[in-house]
């Protein structure tokens, strides 16, 4: 669509006022329909390209191309990346969706993601409230609270693997000293999922805490004071002052943590590799196992694509239900 004068924007926008940084200007005369970026805009574009270029390049190379490749692979049957691919259309999807193992993995992902997010938020918010109080050694405690988050994942996993070791782990040792029975933390199908959730909660609750803490610090002190003066109890202050203030952060935190936990591969792989008996196998682990263990690259790609589409759908529904700009 064009506007009088040939611009792509209304005259009021297209270079009509001073200080318009990015825009196009109509060139009068024979080349009235030709547009040239003025020198200022060209300079700005160089800046824009300079800043955005590397990011866009990385996104294209590391995200877009692999994503498109994965989607394409899901329509082929091939045993390894060096096999000759054979077009099978949607057959991989039909096979995957007909597998009870896929549905088990989906359910495991939902359980793992939901349990992790609920616990991380349920623990992260109270800890943030405590850390928001003024007390002696506050800075030290705040720093210490972040420690689990800054420890590399591999180290976190090994710490917990050793602590929960069924024979020599300190947790079972303590249980025995207390007269209890040692627990098969990672060997019993019914307990393994809880153990993996526990490790994730320990490692990532500090992220939730620190984000909430940052949000709490933006709340105007006068609001607390006013609530106190009006006789609000601690619970009422939490409900009517604090929670509305941190709601935008809560929305984003729940979304991000849910996506991250649903896709979390490293912790589960290193702790249990999806076992025992697929008790902790979720879609990313299943995709990996199919592609690189079961010589079904197409099937693995189909699982990964379904996982991607599921997350897209969840994000869309989530933003429809909880509008960030309304929070």
């Amino acid at each position: 669509m064009s506007f009088p004068g040939g611009g792509l924007r209304p005259p009021s926008e297209a270079g009509a006022g001073p200080g318009v940084a990015i825009g196009v200007r109509a060139i009068p005369g024979p080349a009235a329909r030709a547009f040239r970026l003025d020198p200022l805009v060209r300079r700005e574009w160089r800046t824009v390209v300079g800043f955005l270029g590397p990011g866009v390049l990385f996104f294209v190379v590391l995200v877009a191309v692999p994503t498109v490749s994965t989607v394409l692979l899901s329509f082929y049957r091939l045993e390894s990346l060096i096999s000759t691919p054979r077009w099978v259309g949607l057959a991989n999807y039909a096979a995957v969706l007909g597998e009870p193992r896929f549905w088990n993995a989906l359910l495991n992902g939902i359980v793992y993601g939901a349990a992790s997010v609920v616990l991380q938020v349920a623990l992260g918010l109270p800890i943030a409230l405590l850390l928001n109080l003024r007390f002696r050694g506050q800075a030290l405690v705040r720093g210490t609270a972040l420690v689990p988050y800054v420890i590399p994942t591999v180290v976190v996993v090994f710490i917990w693997k050793w602590m929960l070791d069924e024979n020599i782990g300190i947790v079972n040792h303590a249980l025995k000293l207390a007269g209890g029975t040692p627990v098969s933390w990672f060997s019993a199908p019914a307990i393994a999922m809880a153990s993996t959730v526990l490790v994730g909660v320990w490692a990532w609750t500090p992220f939730v805490t620190i984000t909430f803490l940052a949000a709490l610090q933006t709340v105007n002190e006068e609001l607390y004071e006013a609530a106190r003066v009006d006789g609000a109890t601690a619970g009422q202050r939490l409900r009517y002052v604090i929670l509305p203030a941190v709601r935008p952060v809560l929305v984003i935190i729940v979304l991000l943590r849910a996506i991250w936990m649903f896709n979390k591969f490293d912790v589960i792989w290193m702790l249990t590799q999806g076992g025992p008996l697929q008790a902790t196998e979720h879609l990313p682990v299943l995709a990996y196992r199919m592609a690189f263990g079961l010589y079904d690259v197409g099937g693995g790609a189909a699982v990964a694509t379904i996982n991607f589409l599921l997350l897209l759908a969840v994000v869309a529904v989530y933003f429809r239900l909880v509008r960030v700009d309304e929070t």
Partner: protein, 438 residues
């Protein structure tokens, strides 16, 4: 207009170009060839030796050997990635015959039959040479037999002798299970550890996965009762295992023995090297044996031959084959001596080699080496493995391995209390399904 300056510049440039052009073929010809070798043996001694050998080979022949070392699990994905990326390795160390089959099946390997023949087919021990489409694609160097380690001193204290039958073995396991001590570490995890170190119990019961025509015989009238018996054996001896076996990995097998928590564990001679380093007391008081079977004069071991393959897409095929030939004829013994008790030679001549036989560790652990050598007697030893079971080599063996069919069959019985007969049927069905997609 041609000035004196521009004329001189032009002449000089033309001269340089001409000189370069004339010299180019010579330079290309003189450029030393490169052989890229991907090694998956992680031991520091082996890595050091290979790096030094690479330097030695370059000095000797002018061919540069670029060594790259990765953990065993990364060798296959990296090999595939290098082929896909158009920069394939020339020589790759692989940890399973199935890897060579997978690569050869897709046409990515060169036969090494001639190299093996030059060394002498008769020199190779049983079940070490694997033909695929009438060619050998893997040059094997060690057996990686998985056998039982036991505490000789504990046996002596109780007046026991190594079991000759499964029933005797059960009784011994029971004897050693008390307090925090357990009879044996038998891996049950859905992990390569169980595929390798947890399947002797199957061979001991005479279990087979495939028949002569690649038909699945695991649930056949002949084999099913044996498989059920093997699962029942695991069920009966489960209380004699330490906790955590359903998640056990290689290190757990070693650690449980080194830490004196169990009377028996499965491993190769690498465990002896660990004992020497970490708990020398046990290095003086262990024994090794095959896994008892129902027959008193037969025992079982599982093998996992390591070897080298030459990748077809490598840029220096001829140089790689030449390097392999030189290495296996000139440096094999030195290579095996880098972890001498772990790399059990597949070539009989190595056992007689004075350098190898007089290695201080071989001399010190002669009883263990003699037992290892005894495993080569097929009349006495049932040798099998998931990746070689069947009438030959096929991709399906690798799939059964990677799908963890056998470990999950164990887990169904031991963790979910599924009836052993049902678990065998489930496993057979899974193998057939994997075959259907092959």
């Amino acid at each position: 207009m041609v000035t004196r300056r521009s004329f001189l510049k032009g002449t000089a440039a033309t001269g340089v170009l001409a000189a370069g052009g004339l010299a180019a073929p010579t330079l290309v010809f003189a450029q030393p060839k490169e052989v890229r070798w991907l090694n998956n043996e992680p031991d520091p001694n082996t890595i050091k030796f290979l790096n030094e050998t690479a330097v030695e080979y370059e000095k000797k022949t002018g061919v540069k050997v670029l060594m790259e070392h990765v953990p065993v699990a990364e060798a296959y994905p990296k090999t595939i990635a290098s082929i896909k990326a158009g920069r394939a390795y020339d020589l790759v160390t692989v940890g399973e015959v199935s890897m060579a089959v997978l690569l050869a099946g897709e046409g990515h390997c060169l036969p090494v039959t001639d190299v093996v023949k030059k060394v002498g087919l008769a020199d190779f021990g049983p079940k070490s040479l694997w033909y695929f489409k009438n060619e050998l694609y893997l040059y094997p160097y060690d057996y990686n037999f998985c056998y039982l380690f036991y505490r000789r001193d504990w046996y002596e204290q109780k007046g026991l002798k190594p079991a000759k039958t499964l029933n005797e073995f059960t009784e011994i396991l029971k004897t050693f299970t008390a307090g925090d001590k357990r009879g044996w570490s038998q891996p049950l995890s859905a992990h390569a550890t169980t595929n390798w170190a947890g399947v002797n119990v199957l061979w001991a019961h005479g279990v087979r996965l495939f028949g002569d025509n690649w038909n699945v015989v695991l649930d056949s009238p002949e084999v099913k009762p044996k498989a059920v018996a093997a699962l029942n054996y695991l069920k009966a001896t489960f209380p004699y295992m330490p906790k955590g076996m359903p998640q056990a990995q290689y290190a757990d097998l070693i650690n449980s023995f080194v830490a004196e928590n169990v009377a028996h564990t499965f491993y190769t001679g690498r465990l002896i090297h660990h004992l020497e380093k970490v708990n020398p007391k046990i290095a003086e008081s262990y024994g090794i044996m095959g896994f008892p079977t129902s027959s008193p004069d037969k025992w079982a071991v599982t093998h996992a031959t390591d070897g080298w393959v030459v990748i077809k897409e490598g840029r220096s095929n001829a140089a790689a084959l030449k390097l392999l030939e030189w290495f296996v004829t000139e440096r094999l013994v030195d290579y095996l001596r880098t972890v001498v008790l772990h790399y059990q030679p597949v070539q009989r001549s190595v056992y007689k080699n004075p350098q190898w036989a007089n290695d201080p560790l071989v001399r010190k652990h002669r009883h263990a080496v003699d037992a290892m050598y005894a495993f080569l007697d097929e009349k006495r030893t049932a040798i099998n493995a998931i990746d070689i079971d069947g009438p030959g080599l096929d991709v399906i063996q690798g799939k059964v391995w990677n799908a963890f069919v056998i470990p999950e069959m164990y887990q169904e019985v031991l963790l979910k209390n599924v009836d052993p007969a049902r678990a065998v049927e489930n496993a057979a069905a899974r193998i057939r399904k994997l075959q259907g997609r092959a």
